[in-house]
């Protein structure tokens, strides 16, 4: 009885939808004319689709650009914040603002910051004698521009996770290390890094999953006209499904993404979890 409503809801909206989606991915269907069963035809089409490979490459590049940067910065920030300083609460509050703001709103603000003629970014770089850059107008800078927005927005969240991880490390370990004469660098690599590894693993896996789904940022930064270099995987799937109404193809693309994410997550668990120390953490 208790589980009834929740179970009913998930049977319809999780299991039901997954089944329907798998079914639709074997159809050629524009929602209007009757669907035509084509087996794995959509998947064959994907493998030969130049845009599939391009958008997958764009997305992978974005993930490689934003995830390691985000991890390194948020860990560094957590280390700096994990000290008894006055005002740490204020700092944490500040870091969290970007997280709670909606991606659409902050991406609109960033579109304005990146504006080539009047943007704050170029005026700031102007102080150092750097000529104005058309940030969103060319592929070489548009991708880092999206990555910067993503890192900026995720910093507070990831830092909070790292901080919780740091605070769970028993302080007597550091005391013992000091007695043995270990310097701060040694303490970091011998104590902090291994004992923080469950947190690092968790933040890494969730960041990769989240970054693969990048959509809102590219959409709002583009102001309605998404360029080829910001056409990420989700953007392409959305275009196929809801602009071309090629439902079967979009469903197949979604399943391929699911498979890719599944493989990546599985590999992360297999390769990295061996190095994660859970005994004390």
């Amino acid at each position: 009885m208790f589980i009834g409503p929740g179970l009913l809801h998930s049977i319809v909206f999780i299991i039901g939808m997954v089944v329907v989606s798998a079914l639709v991915s074997t159809w050629r269907w524009d929602l209007v004319s009757p669907p035509e069963f084509i087996g794995l035809g959509n998947y064959q089409r994907i493998m030969a689709d130049e845009m599939f490979w391009l958008t997958l490459k764009n997305t992978a590049f974005f993930v490689l650009l934003s995830v390691p940067t985000g991890l390194a910065l948020s860990l560094g920030l957590a280390l700096a914040a994990n000290t008894k300083l006055r005002g740490v609460t204020f700092f944490r509050t500040a870091y969290f603002f970007p997280y709670i703001a909606s991606m659409i709103s902050v991406a609109i603000v960033f579109r304005w910051l990146y504006n080539s003629d009047y943007g704050l970014m170029n005026s700031f770089l102007g102080w150092f004698g750097i000529n104005p850059i058309d940030w969103l107008g060319q592929c070489s800078t548009a991708m880092p521009a999206v990555a910067l927005l993503a890192v900026w927005k995720g910093l507070g969240w990831n830092m909070t996770l790292f901080l919780a991880g740091l605070q769970a490390i028993p302080s007597h370990l550091y005391e013992a290390a000091q007695m043995d004469g270990a310097g701060r660098w040694r303490q970091f690599w011998d104590i902090t890094w291994p004992l923080l590894s469950p947190t690092t693993f968790f933040v890494g896996v969730t960041s990769v999953l989240g970054s693969f789904a990048v959509f809102d940022a590219a959409y709002a930064l583009s102001g309605g006209n998404i360029s080829r270099c910001l056409t990420f995987y989700m953007v392409y799937t959305w275009q196929q499904g809801f602009q071309n109404f090629d439902m079967g193809y979009a469903a197949a693309l979604a399943w391929v993404l699911f498979a890719i994410l599944g493989v990546i997550t599985f590999v992360q668990f297999r390769v990295l979890s061996k190095r994660v120390h859970y005994e004390l953490g």
Binding site: M1, F2, I3, P5, G6, L7, H9, S10, F13, I14, G16, M17, V18, S21, V24, G76, L77, A80, A81, N82, K84, G87, V88, F90, F91, A94, P98, I100, A101, I104, S105, I108, V109, F110, W112, L113, D117, Y118, L120, S123, W157, T160, L161, A164, G165, P170, S171, Q178, G183, D216, Y219, G224, M234, W238, G241, M247, A251, W255, L257, F258
Partner: protein, 287 residues
């Protein structure tokens, strides 16, 4: 806990001071970078058109143009509706999830029924399914039953979530059994225990979930983008993206609209800041 000893990690006083200074500088710099875009949004929202396009940029407008805000309501006839729609949709989702998820979570935490753990793991696994996999059949089915461009298309799928069930289950598991045992001796059934013991003790966990659900759903863009067609039905987040496309250089009013759309999020954050941080620290990791 480890913070105190990190400070005293090294003997030299000057080393400690230098480290403190570096920490302060780092923290301040990042705080500045975090807040600067939002400050710039606020500044732009109060400028005249000339000031918006002044170069080099000007931080403080000569006259604060509050009419950038009031003109949102007159120039964009649906702006009001977008905010009302967002409150309605997000409010119903939050209430629905608190009820549905707390019942499911109670079942997972306390009741024994066949397949319980299997179902629970399926729930956890479902968090990995990309939104895209679900949204396509959702769109297809809703278009067959005439729900496209209606608010129930956003509300009904949002009434339960794996993350909500998971968060509450983790909390319920920490409630001591003794209370329930005593109630059971007095003849209370599962329903009475759920209503009179579990729920009253779970105030903090329910509030934390409510706060997160509010923030996530207020910001949700993808589902409204796919499922809504006509501007009067938009949420504020979708509405802002719509203005961003159609009035793309009307910067001062885009920023004013952004400020309005962020106020509810900021208010919720200010009221529940501690809750959010603790929520991340406990439920984010202990999985």
């Amino acid at each position: 806990m480890s913070s105190a000893n990190l400070d005293s990690a090294q003997p030299g006083h000057s080393g400690k001071r230098a480290r403190r200074l570096v920490a302060y500088l780092t923290l301040s710099f990042v705080a500045l970078v975090s807040l600067l875009p939002l400050a710039w949004m606020l500044s732009t929202s109060l400028k005249s058109r000339d000031e918006v396009f002044a170069y080099p940029p000007q931080w403080i407008p000569e006259v604060l143009r509050w009419d950038n805000y009031s003109s949102l309501w007159t120039d964009f006839p649906y702006f009001n509706l977008w905010i009302v729609n967002s409150f309605k949709i997000v409010g119903l989702i939050v209430i629905g999830q608190l009820i549905v998820c707390s019942m499911s979570a109670y079942a997972f935490a306390r009741l024994n029924f066949p397949g319980r753990d299997l179902i629970f793991y399926l729930y956890l696994g479902s968090m990995l399914v990309p939104d895209m996999v679900n949204i396509i059949p959702t769109y297809i089915i809703f278009s067959k039953i005439g729900w496209i461009d209606t608010h129930q298309a956003l509300i009904v799928p949002g009434l339960a979530s794996a993350i909500g069930i998971f968060m509450l289950r983790q909390f319920f598991l920490t409630i001591p059994h003794e209370l329930e045992d005593a109630a059971r001796v007095d003849g209370a059934g599962y329903w009475r225990i759920y209503r009179d013991i579990i729920i009253p003790l779970s105030g903090p966990a329910l509030a934390t979930l409510a706060v997160f659900l509010f923030i996530w759903n207020w910001s949700d863009f993808f589902s409204p983008l796919v499922l809504m067609n006509s501007p009067p039905n938009f949420t504020i987040t979708l509405g802002m993206a719509f203005l961003n496309d159609s009035r793309s250089t009307d910067w001062e009013r885009l920023m004013a609209g952004n400020v309005i759309s962020l106020i509810p999020l900021i208010l919720v954050y200010m009221l529940a800041q501690k809750r959010i941080v603790e929520g991340i620290a406990t439920t984010g990791l202990k999985g």
